[in-house]
C-alpha cells in the first residue's frame, strides 16, 4: 500500500498551488478555481488520514463530503457575484475593481 506521507505531500503541493494561484491571478474565476484546489487538498488530507486512522475511519470521509457540498454552495454564490459584476461593467480583472481604497 502507498504510505500515508505520499498523500500528504501531494496535498501540500496542491494546497500551495492553490494559494499561489489565489494570490497571483487577477481574474476572479481563476481565483475561485485556485480556492477549489485548496479545498481539494483538504479533502485529500481528510480521506488519507481517515484511511490510515485506527480510531474512526468514517469521520474523515463524512467531513470530506461536507466540504464538497458546502464548497458547491460557495461556488454557486461566487459565480453569481462575478456574473453580476461582469454583466453590468464587463470587467474581468479584479485590479480594475478599485473604487474603494484608503
Amino acid at each position: 500500500m502507498i504510505p500515508l506521507h505520499y498523500y500528504l505531500i501531494v496535498a501540500v503541493i496542491l494546497f500551495s498551488i492553490g494559494i499561489w494561484g489565489a494570490l497571483k491571478h487577477t481574474n476572479p474565476i481563476r481565483v475561485l478555481i485556485s480556492i477549489e484546489l485548496m479545498l481539494n487538498a483538504v479533502n485529500l488530507n481528510l480521506i488519507a488520514f481517515a484511511r490510515f486512522s485506527q480510531v474512526d475511519m468514517v469521520l474523515g470521509q463524512v467531513f470530506a463530503i461536507f466540504v464538497i457540498a458546502v464548497a458547491a454552495a460557495e461556488v454557486a454564490i461566487g459565480l453569481a457575484i462575478v456574473l453580476m459584476i461582469v454583466r453590468e461593467r464587463n470587467i474581468y480583472d479584479i485590479n480594475k475593481i478599485n473604487l474603494l481604497k484608503g
Binding site: I35, N45, F49, Q54, D56, V67, I77, K101
Partner: protein, 478 residues
C-alpha cells in the same frame, strides 16, 4: 430528549423559509415592510423559546452541538442583535428597493449560522455554521445590486472569505490527522495523551487555524478586505458583519483555543499577544485619516478585534470573562452607532463625516447618543465599553502582561482623536446662521437607539448582573 435547546434555531429556520414563501406572493411595487416585522416576531419567538433551555447543559446530535452557559449567553445576544438589525433595516430596505423577502430570510439564516457556530462542540458543526453565516453574509453584502461599491465590497469579501475558509479547513484536516477526531473535547483529550505527529506539524496546524481565524475577525495583517467591505456593504449589513460575523468567530475561537487546544496555550497566547498589539495599533492609526464614517468605523472595529484578542493573550478565566463582557458591550454600542448612520443615509445626508455637520441642531437625540456610543468605544465611564476594557485590562495585568495593558491604554488614547473629530463636526459648526432643517427621529431607528443607548449605560453603571453572566461563561474551562 434535549432537543429543547434547538427550538430557537428551528423557529428561525421555519420563519426564514416562510418569509421566502411570502415574498413569492408579493405583488410588484408592494411594500415589503411587513416581512421585516414578521421576522422580528420570529426572532422574539426564538428569544422566548430560549427560556426553557436555560440551565440545561448537554450535547445534541452525538456531540456535534453543545448547550452550556457560553452557548446560551451568545445565542441570546445573537437574537437581540438580530432584532436590532431588523429594526434598522426596514426603512433602508424600502428606500433602496432591496428585495425584502430574500434580504430578511438571508439575515435569519445568517443568525442561525451564528447560533450553530456558538453552539458547536465539533469542528464539523463549526464549519457548517461558519459557512451558513458566511454565505448569507456574502449575499447580503451584495444586496445593492446596481451599486458599484456594493459589488466591489462583496467580491472582495467573498474571495477573502473563501480563502480563509480553505485555510481554516486545512488546519482542521491536520488536527484531524494528528488526533483522529474533530470533536473539540476530543482534541483536548488527545493532546493530553500525546498526538501521532511531530511538534512542527502541530505548530503548522495551529498556524493555519490562526491565520484563517485572523481573516474572519479581520486581525492585522489579514484585515485588508475589511475596510472596503464595510464601506461598500448596505449600512445595516455593515452593522451585522461587524457584530455577528466577528462575534460568532470570537466565540468559536474561545471554545477551540481555551478548551480544545488547552495544552498548546503557551504557543497561541503569545501569538495572540503580538497579533493584538499590531491589530489595535494599525486599526486605530488607519482610522485617523478616514473621511467616510463607515470606513472609519471599519478600522475602529479592527482595533476592537485587537482589544478583544487581549483576552486570548491572557488565556485565563478572567480573560474569558473580559472578552465576553467586551463583546456584549461592543455589540450593543456598534448597533446603536450604525442605526444612527442608517438614519442619516435614509435622510440623504450621505456617509461622509462632513455630512454630520451641525447634527446636534438637526437632531439632538442622535448627536448625544452618538457621543455616548463613542465614549463606550473609547472606554470612558459611565459606559459599558469602559467596564469591558477594564476587565480585559485586569486580565492582562493578572497574566503578567503589563506591556499589553499599556498598549491598550495608549491605543484608547489614540482612538480619542478620530471619535472626537466626528463629535466636533456634530457640535461645533455654528457658522450657518439660519436654523438647519430638522431631522425627525423615525420610530424604528429611535427604538434601536434608545434600547442600545440604555443598555450601554446600564452595562456601565449597574454591571453586576452582566458581569455575573459573563463569569458564568468561564465554566467551559476544563
Amino acid at each position: 430528549m434535549i432537543f429543547d435547546v434547538l427550538i430557537p434555531e428551528i423557529v428561525l429556520t421555519v420563519v426564514a423559509l416562510g418569509l421566502l414563501l411570502a415574498a413569492a406572493w408579493q405583488k410588484e411595487g408592494q411594500s415589503g415592510s411587513y416581512l421585516g416585522y414578521l421576522g422580528i416576531v420570529g426572532l422574539l419567538g426564538a428569544l422566548v423559546a430560549l427560556w426553557p433551555a436555560i440551565g440545561i447543559s448537554g450535547e445534541v446530535f452525538d456531540g456535534m452541538l453543545v448547550a452550556d452557559e457560553l452557548t446560551m449567553f451568545f445565542k441570546a445576544l445573537l437574537i437581540v442583535v438580530g432584532i436590532l438589525v431588523f429594526l434598522m433595516s426596514i426603512e433602508f430596505v424600502e428606500k433602496n428597493h432591496i428585495p425584502a423577502g430574500e434580504y430578511y430570510a438571508l439575515l435569519l439564516f445568517g443568525i442561525v449560522g451564528g447560533m450553530i457556530m456558538v453552539a458547536s462542540a465539533d469542528l464539523l458543526a463549526f464549519y457548517v455554521g461558519l459557512e451558513l453565516l458566511a454565505i448569507a453574509s456574502y449575499a447580503l453584502t451584495g444586496m445593492l445590486r446596481n451599486d458599484h461599491k456594493s459589488q466591489e465590497a462583496v467580491l472582495k469579501y467573498f474571495l477573502n472569505g473563501a480563502l480563509a475558509s480553505a485555510i481554516i479547513l486545512f488546519g482542521i484536516s491536520l488536527f484531524y490527522g494528528l488526533t483522529g477526531t474533530t470533536s473539540i473535547q476530543g482534541l483536548a483529550d488527545a493532546f493530553k495523551v500525546g498526538v501521532n505527529g511531530t511538534d512542527s506539524l502541530v505548530m503548522a496546524a495551529l498556524v493555519f487555524l490562526m491565520a484563517g481565524f485572523g481573516f474572519k475577525i479581520a486581525a492585522v495583517p489579514f484585515h485588508l478586505w475589511a475596510a472596503d467591505t464595510y464601506e461598500g456593504a448596505p449600512t445595516p449589513i455593515t452593522a451585522f458583519l461587524s457584530v455577528v460575523s466577528k462575534g460568532a468567530a470570537f466565540v468559536v475561537m474561545m471554545r477551540i483555543f481555551f478548551v480544545g487546544l488547552e495544552s498548546l496555550t503557551v504557543n497561541w497566547s503569545a501569538a495572540f499577544a503580538v497579533l493584538a498589539v499590531i491589530t489595535m495599533t494599525v486599526g486605530n492609526l488607519a482610522a485617523l485619516w478616514q473621511k467616510n464614517i463607515k470606513r472609519m468605523l471599519a478600522y475602529s472595529s479592527i482595533a476592537h478585534a485587537g482589544y478583544i484578542m487581549v483576552g486570548f493573550a491572557a488565556a485565563t478565566a478572567d480573560g474569558l470573562t473580559g472578552m465576553t463582557y467586551y463583546i456584549l458591550a461592543y455589540a450593543l454600542t456598534n448597533m446603536g452607532l450604525f442605526a444612527i448612520i442608517v438614519a442619516m443615509s435614509n435622510a440623504g445626508l450621505g456617509e461622509d463625516i462632513d455630512g454630520y455637520k451641525g447634527l446636534s441642531r438637526k437632531n439632538a437625540l442622535y448627536a448625544w447618543m452618538m457621543v455616548v456610543f463613542f465614549l463606550s468605544l473609547i472606554g470612558i465611564p459611565p459606559t459599558g465599553g469602559f467596564l469591558g476594557k477594564f476587565l480585559l485590562f485586569k486580565a492582562s495585568i493578572g497574566a503578567n502582561l503589563v506591556w499589553l495593558a499599556l498598549a491598550m491604554a495608549i491605543n484608547s488614547a489614540i482612538s480619542v482623536g478620530y471619535y472626537y473629530g466626528v463629535v466636533k463636526t456634530m457640535f461645533l459648526n455654528e457658522e450657518e446662521e439660519e436654523e438647519p432643517q430638522k431631522l425627525p427621529t423615525t420610530a424604528n431607528i429611535g427604538l434601536v437607539v434608545w434600547i442600545t443607548g440604555a443598555m450601554v449605560l446600564v452595562l456601565g453603571i449597574l454591571p453586576s448582573f452582566f458581569i455575573e453572566l459573563s463569569s458564568q461563561v468561564a465554566k467551559i474551562l476544563p
